[in-house]
Symmetry: C2
Subunit: 275 residues, 2 copies
Amino acid sequence: MPFHFIEEYQRGYGLNLQIEKILHVEQSKYQHIVVFSTMSHGVVLILDNCIMTTEKDEFYYHEVLAHTPMQAAREPRRVLIIGGGDGGTAREVLRYTGVEKVDMIEIDEKVIEVSKRFMPGLSCAFDDPRLNLMIGDGVKYIRDCKEKYDCVIVDSTDPIGPAIALFSEPFYSNCCRILVDEGAFSAQTESPLFQRDAMASIYRNLNRAFPRLDPYFSPVPSYGGLWSYALGTKGKNPTTIEGWEIDFDLKYYNESVHLGMFHVPNDMKEITGRD
Amino acid sequence: MPFHFIEEYQRGYGLNLQIEKILHVEQSKYQHIVVFSTMSHGVVLILDNCIMTTEKDEFYYHEVLAHTPMQAAREPRRVLIIGGGDGGTAREVLRYTGVEKVDMIEIDEKVIEVSKRFMPGLSCAFDDPRLNLMIGDGVKYIRDCKEKYDCVIVDSTDPIGPAIALFSEPFYSNCCRILVDEGAFSAQTESPLFQRDAMASIYRNLNRAFPRLDPYFSPVPSYGGLWSYALGTKGKNPTTIEGWEIDFDLKYYNESVHLGMFHVPNDMKEITGRD
């Protein structure tokens, strides 16, 4: 058992994944990309030395990131995805037959290529004719955007390197600007266990940008246990579910889970500005 | 950085903790006990090669195991704890000034000794005069028990070795028998990520033993992310909070968290018998 990948969450503490076979290694224009297979998690995608997606438990993340705003918004027909190059978020959004168009803008086409090649369970929706896939800078796209969306979903990497601007107040304000009044925005907002300083800064920006901002929490085992997300709206109560009916099978998310995610634990009140 | 402890959740997948100093190694009558210090998690207690408690994140587990039944029961004055040798569950229960007596029965006095010596933040309630600490077999105690309790809390190790009987239907039925009508029972019921077969068996037993049984889920990072618990009652709705008011500081648990924990994700419905 010679090859192991260790994601060190903090000094002296990390997750240990035994590698079965290294499938792909590449330095793209934006990040270092590695794909390997494992016995425990199927195929794993690593970006800049961080676990981005594993075939085994990606559904925890993608279902919660995508269906929460899709259910909070009123029958969302037009959706924008920023990032999400592995395809998992697009797959979830396109499960709804009522969705008419999904604009998706991903900065690194190499991530899309490796997902298509090695993770068909994630990239399966890239051929959907309702998906308009663009390669480019999401920050610029959203700054210049004249359209309106029912849902805007930010599926980004960590706030380092190319993704930093995807956590800024101007970016979040532009996301809010292009939302319809009954729409909903979601973004991943890092680990409440290991990135609390980053989270505090992210939530300062989010709380300024949205008339109503609700943090929510859900498990993602390969991200260290618990993960945080934000739901931004123009005043809608997130516990009011108004999206399309879920008439397809999901592994984790359901209406009951939705209602349970918005309860803020004591140790996360201050960093999300709930005090 | 030579010494590491790796808890392998499944083959090829585990948590990696760097050891600062090994503080104690002992084979007790019942289990192998190791205590070491870490940079990331303070002092860590290992029983039979499994992480039992870490100073850093024990509160996720103990608060949720103890306060959930304490809040579901009506003003609980008499509490029974089975296991819980590190003292964390007793500490939580004894925070309520309304609690009059806590009977605690732990099989391995060596666990209590190492907790007193190395983990004062956990063992701090052992000197409380309301605590009646007994060294013995919880299964026998509860089988022969003639008393009634407002709360019964099972804080056990995994269902291997000495703890197997703590997951059986006769044991759970006896726990139910000694509960008052308005009382509440809680038990840890293993990892919904890595011990699903064990969970399915545990929930078959629990569902038979209690008139009303509600699974609940909450994060414990050092247990692999997510952990499961069961609340057993004689028919009470667990979302009705009737316990003593919480007038002390907790790190994680609050009323809002309580209400959110009972939502059962899709991938946990079958194993907990909710279908």
